[in-house]
C-alpha cells in the first residue's frame, strides 16, 4: 500500500510545485506542456504506425494562426481554436493521402516539405498573417498563469490517460500493435492499413493543431519563425529523448528540454550553454536508447 502511496504523493507534489513558481518559470512550464502536445502528436504517429513526420510544426502553425487570425476578427477564441484543430486535421488528411503510401526517408522528406510549405505560406501571406511582422494582440487575455497551468495539466493528463487506456487495455490497442508489427498479417486479418495510417495522420495533425491553438491563445503573439522546420526537429528530438511510443516520456522530455536550456543560462555565454545542452541530449540517448519512457518501463519491472 505505502509503495503505491509514495509515488502518487510525489507526483501530486511535483504537479503542484509550479503553482509556487515565479512568472518566468511557470511560463516555461506552461509552454513546455503546450509543446508536449506537439511532441505527443509525433509520438502518436511514429509510435503507433511507425510513420515519421518532420513537418509537425506546420500543423502547429496552422492551428495557431487559425486561432490568431479568426480571434482577431472577433470569433470567440474557443470556436476559433476548434476551427484551427479542424483545419489542421483536414491538412493532415490531405497530406496523408499521398504520404501514407510513402515509406521511410521518402516520407520524412515529404513531411519536411510540408512543414516548409506552411512556413512559407505563413511568411508570405502578409494580408492574412501579417507575415514576419507577426500577429500581435490576439484577444485571449484575462486568464492568469496559475489557471493556464492547471488547464494544460488537465489537458495533458487527459490525453495521457486516454492513450494509456487505448494502448494497454482496449481492443483498438492490440489491433494497432498488429498493424505496427506486421502489415501483411494485419491486412490478412481484415485491416485496411492505408486507412489506419490516414487516420493516424489526421488525428496526429489535429493534436498538433490543438497544441498550436493553445500556444496562440496563451502567448497571444505569433510569428512564422515559431513554426519553422527547426521547431519540427525540436519536437522530434523531444519525442526521441522521451522515448518513441511513450507519451509520458514525451511530456517529461519536453518539460526537461525546455527548462534545462533556460536553467543553463546561469552558465552565461550562449554557445557554451548549447554545447552542454547538446551533450546532455547525446548522453541520454547513449545510456537510454529507448528514452525516458524506456527507463520508466525498466524501473517498473
Amino acid at each position: 500500500m505505502s509503495r503505491r502511496v509514495l509515488p502518487i504523493a510525489a507526483v501530486v507534489v511535483l504537479a503542484g510545485l509550479p503553482l509556487t513558481f515565479g512568472a518566468f518559470w511557470i511560463n516555461m512550464v506552461i509552454t513546455a506542456l503546450i509543446f508536449s502536445l506537439a511532441v505527443f502528436s509525433i509520438n502518436l504517429l511514429t509510435g503507433l504506425t511507425g510513420l515519421l513526420s518532420f513537418g509537425q510544426a506546420g500543423f502547429v502553425g496552422i492551428g495557431a494562426y487559425t486561432l490568431g487570425v479568426l480571434a482577431k476578427q472577433g470569433y470567440p477564441p474557443m470556436l476559433a481554436g476548434f476551427y484551427g484543430v479542424l483545419l489542421a486535421m483536414l491538412c493532415g488528411f490531405l497530406l496523408g493521402l499521398p504520404a501514407a503510401r510513402l515509406k521511410g526517408h521518402y516520407l520524412a522528406i515529404g513531411t519536411l516539405g510540408f512543414g516548409i510549405l506552411v512556413y512559407q505560406l505563413l511568411t508570405n501571406s502578409v494580408d492574412i498573417t501579417r507575415g514576419p511582422m507577426g500577429l500581435i494582440g490576439i484577444p485571449t487575455g484575462g486568464i492568469d498563469k496559475q489557471t493556464w497551468y492547471l488547464i494544460m495539466l488537465a489537458v495533458c493528463v487527459a490525453m495521457l490517460a486516454a492513450l494509456a487506456y487505448i494502448d494497454r487495455y482496449s481492443a483498438l490497442g492490440v489491433v494497432l500493435k498488429m498493424v505496427r508489427h506486421d502489415e501483411i498479417a494485419a491486412q490478412a486479418s481484415g485491416i485496411n492499413t492505408f486507412a489506419v495510417k490516414l487516420i493516424a495522420f489526421t488525428v496526429s495533425a489535429g493534436i498538433a493543431g490543438l497544441s498550436g491553438a493553445l500556444f496562440a491563445a496563451y502567448v497571444r503573439f505569433l510569428t512564422p519563425d515559431l513554426f519553422n522546420e527547426q521547431e519540427s526537429f525540436r519536437y522530434m528530438m523531444m519525442a526521441v529523448v522521451g522515448g518513441i511510443g511513450s507519451p509520458l516520456g514525451g511530456v517529461v522530455a519536453s518539460v526537461m528540454l525546455t527548462m534545462i536550456p533556460e536553467g543553463l543560462r546561469a552558465l552565461g555565454e550562449d554557445n557554451l550553454r548549447l554545447l552542454v545542452y547538446g551533450t546532455m541530449v547525446l548522453f541520454v540517448l547513449w545510456f537510454l536508447p529507448t528514452g525516458i519512457g524506456g527507463l520508466v518501463e525498466r524501473l517498473r519491472k
Binding site: 487495455y169 492490440v174 489491433v175 500493435k177 506486421d182 501483411i184 491486412q187 486479418s189 485491416i191 486507412a195
Partner: protein, 262 residues
C-alpha cells in the same frame, strides 16, 4: 454451392507464367489439399485468393461474389482467413492479445464496430470468443503467455486461433504442420477435422502427404503453374502424372533444398 471457386486463373510475372488455367473449388466443410513440388505455384495461388496479387485472367468467386478486384482487407472481412508458412504473430504480445486482435480487426467493416474497438480487451464479448477459440485449439493454458516464450510448434496454433476467431467461411492453411512435434501434428489433424465439421471450407497446403491423405476430402495437384489433377487422395497416388511430378519433388526434398528455397 461452393465457397470458393477459381475458374481458369492465370498469373504472369513478367515473362514467367506462374499460374496458367487453374480451376478449383472448395465446398463448406470440405478440406481441399493443394499439393505440388516447390515452385509449382501454390503460394502464388494463395496470394491470388487472399488478394495480395491480382490475377491476369480467369475468375475468382467467393460465395456469390466475384472478388478478383477486391482489396485484401475486404476479402478478409468477407470471410477469407489464412495462416502463414512462416508464422507472423506479434511476438511481444500475449496469445490472448494476438487472438483478440484477429477478432477486433474485423469490426472496422461496419460503422457500429468502430465504437466497439474502444471496449476493454477483457470485455465479455471479446473474452467469450477468444477463450472459446483458445479452448478449441488447445491454448487455454498459455492464454496469458507472451508469444515469444512459446515453443515454435505452438505458435502455429496461435495463428490458427487468430484466423478462426472471426469465424471465417474459408481458411487457407499454408504448411501448418511444419516444425510440429508428433503430438502437435495429431492435435492439428483433429483441429482441421473439427473446423471442417463446423462447416468452414479449408484449403490445406502441406508437404506432409500422410497428413494430406488423412485430412483431405479431395486434393488438387499443380506443377509448374499447371493443374494436373483433382480427385481423392487415393486416386492421386495412382495417377501417373502426379507420380512423375512428385518424383521430382522427392528429389528436391531429399536434396535438402526445400527450406533453403524460402
Amino acid at each position: 454451392m461452393s465457397v470458393l471457386e477459381l475458374t481458369a486463373v492465370s498469373k504472369r510475372f513478367g515473362g514467367l507464367q506462374a499460374l496458367s488455367d487453374i480451376s478449383l473449388s472448395v465446398s463448406p466443410g470440405e478440406v481441399l489439399g493443394l499439393i505440388g513440388p516447390n515452385g509449382a505455384g501454390k503460394s502464388t495461388l494463395v496470394s491470388c485468393i487472399t488478394g495480395v496479387l491480382r490475377i491476369d485472367g480467369g475468375a475468382i468467386r467467393f460465395g456469390d461474389r466475384d472478388i478478383q478486384r477486391m482489396p485484401q482487407h475486404r476479402r478478409a472481412r468477407g470471410g477469407i482467413a489464412r495462416t502463414f508458412q512462416k508464422v507472423r504473430l506479434a511476438d511481444q504480445l500475449t496469445v490472448y492479445e494476438n487472438v483478440a486482435a484477429g477478432l477486433a480487426s474485423h469490426w472496422f467493416a461496419r460503422a457500429s464496430g468502430w465504437a466497439s474497438v474502444f471496449q476493454p480487451l477483457s470485455a465479455g464479448g471479446i473474452a467469450q470468443s477468444v477463450n472459446r477459440t483458445l479452448e478449441r485449439v488447445g491454448l487455454t493454458d498459455v492464454s496469458g503467455a507472451v508469444v515469444k516464450s512459446l515453443p515454435f510448434g505452438r505458435r502455429h496454433f496461435v495463428e490458427i486461433a487468430r484466423a478462426i476467431v472471426s469465424e471465417p467461411k474459408l481458411l487457407l492453411l499454408d504448411e501448418p504442420a511444419t516444425g510440429l512435434t508428433e503430438d502437435e501434428r495429431e492435435r492439428l489433424a483433429a483441429l482441421v477435422q473439427g473446423i471442417a465439421a463446423a462447416g468452414c471450407a479449408q484449403l490445406l497446403i502441406e508437404h506432409d502427404l500422410e497428413l494430406v491423405g488423412r485430412l483431405c476430402h479431395r486434393v488438387t495437384v499443380i506443377n509448374q503453374g499447371h493443374h494436373i489433377f483433382t480427385g481423392t487422395p487415393a486416386m492421386a497416388q495412382s495417377e501417373p502424372e502426379v507420380i512423375r511430378a512428385y518424383l521430382g519433388m522427392n528429389q528436391l526434398i531429399g536434396g535438402g533444398s526445400d527450406d533453403a528455397r524460402r
